[in-house]
Chain length 191, copies 2
DNA sequence: ACCTGAACACCGTTCAAGT
DNA sequence: ACCTGAACACCGTTCAAGT
């Protein structure tokens, strides 16, 4: 069954491309292999997206939108702002749990020089979503003064992304956990 | 003058390839363009390195060796261990100053799934060199207890690499500086 | 030894032709 | 409408043949 639950071809292309980019980057995404993943031929993709750049922009857009939803869902399930912040690294851990994959936006940040402009825009939106969510949590939990919340939020985002990158480079999820623990004991993340 | 100061063809290939990988990654390194950089044809490279994998391994090895030398030189110029630690982020800032390039080992960590085994080994050596240098400085400066030095060193390395990645994704070196400043005020880096 | 033209395999893309 | 084989121009890589 190539099309379960009535997902459209476009949806399945975006979903499959997301997994590929998280493992191989924009440059490592090729149309023929992607097509095979969803049961069509390479040329057929162009019936759904006019170019690789458009497909990648759609992928990156969906990625930050899904991330925004996931963070909202996290906010809804935790007891208080501090609890939310403590659980933030879980969102990055999940990628590593999925075959050592990494954040799509981190991979694409590395590929900055080779990214179409429309893709760059969506990649930055992911960081914005994360930083905004963190800043709101830091303010609500009164961890830093309001005027320092955004700066600290950016620092947490960059540090957690860096931890994921280092852990991926050794395919060692325990290293990710250790890095997060070190961030906590150093005072970057709430203990 | 394609060969100044008597540098060998191999040396010039490694140097030119390093700049390319820092901007486009292992996947974005192509033999014809690299060859043109040093004044030969693509096929000629294979007279100096048996494969792209061997070339990339030589590139990554030279990269961590140069980094180890640079850190030793930094140790020699600063007044005390604390001063050394404060200046550590400069080494990552320099890459961004060079046309928004990033750490070769960070880019290759993202490309983990597509890296030849020999290259992975050298990439990890870069992290080891950095972590060891940081751990020694943290111990010498008595910033953390000896048994926590390595963990904190890894955290600093990952966080600084993450700051570089985020700043590259926006081509914004001021963001890198702001992130480092936030790490200091949060207590991850010595103030 | 060092270099190269030419071949090979691959990739993004297009298009005429199918259903 | 959706899909496809075949082709196009291109690029990374390899190899047989040059000097």
């Amino acid at each position: 069954m190539k099309n379960p639950a009535g997902a459209s071809s476009s949806d399945r292309l975006v979903a499959a491309a997301t997994k590929i980019v998280q493992a191989h980057g924009y440059g490592g995404l090729n149309m023929r292999d992607l097509a095979q993943d969803v049961g069509m031929k390479g040329a057929s993709i162009y019936h759904h997206f006019p170019s690789k750049a458009d497909l990648a922009a759609a992928v990156a857009r969906r990625y930050w939108q899904d991330s925004a939803e996931a963070l909202q869902a996290l906010s809804a399930t935790c007891d208080n702002p501090l609890d939310c912040l403590r659980r933030y690294p879980e969102t990055f851990r999940k990628s590593l749990e999925s075959d050592n994959r990494m954040c799509l936006s981190s991979f694409m940040a590395a590929e900055y020089d080779d990214l179409p402009e429309a893709v760059k825009k969506e990649v930055q939106a992911f960081a914005d979503v994360n930083v905004d969510w963190l800043a709101q949590g830091l303010s609500a939990a009164r961890i830093v003064p309001a005027n320092e919340a955004e700066g600290r939020a950016r620092a947490i985002y960059a540090a957690v992304a860096g931890a994921q990158l280092m852990a991926r480079g050794r395919a060692d999820i325990a290293l990710f956990d250790a890095l997060i623990a070190s961030y906590r004991s150093a005072g970057l993340l709430p203990a």
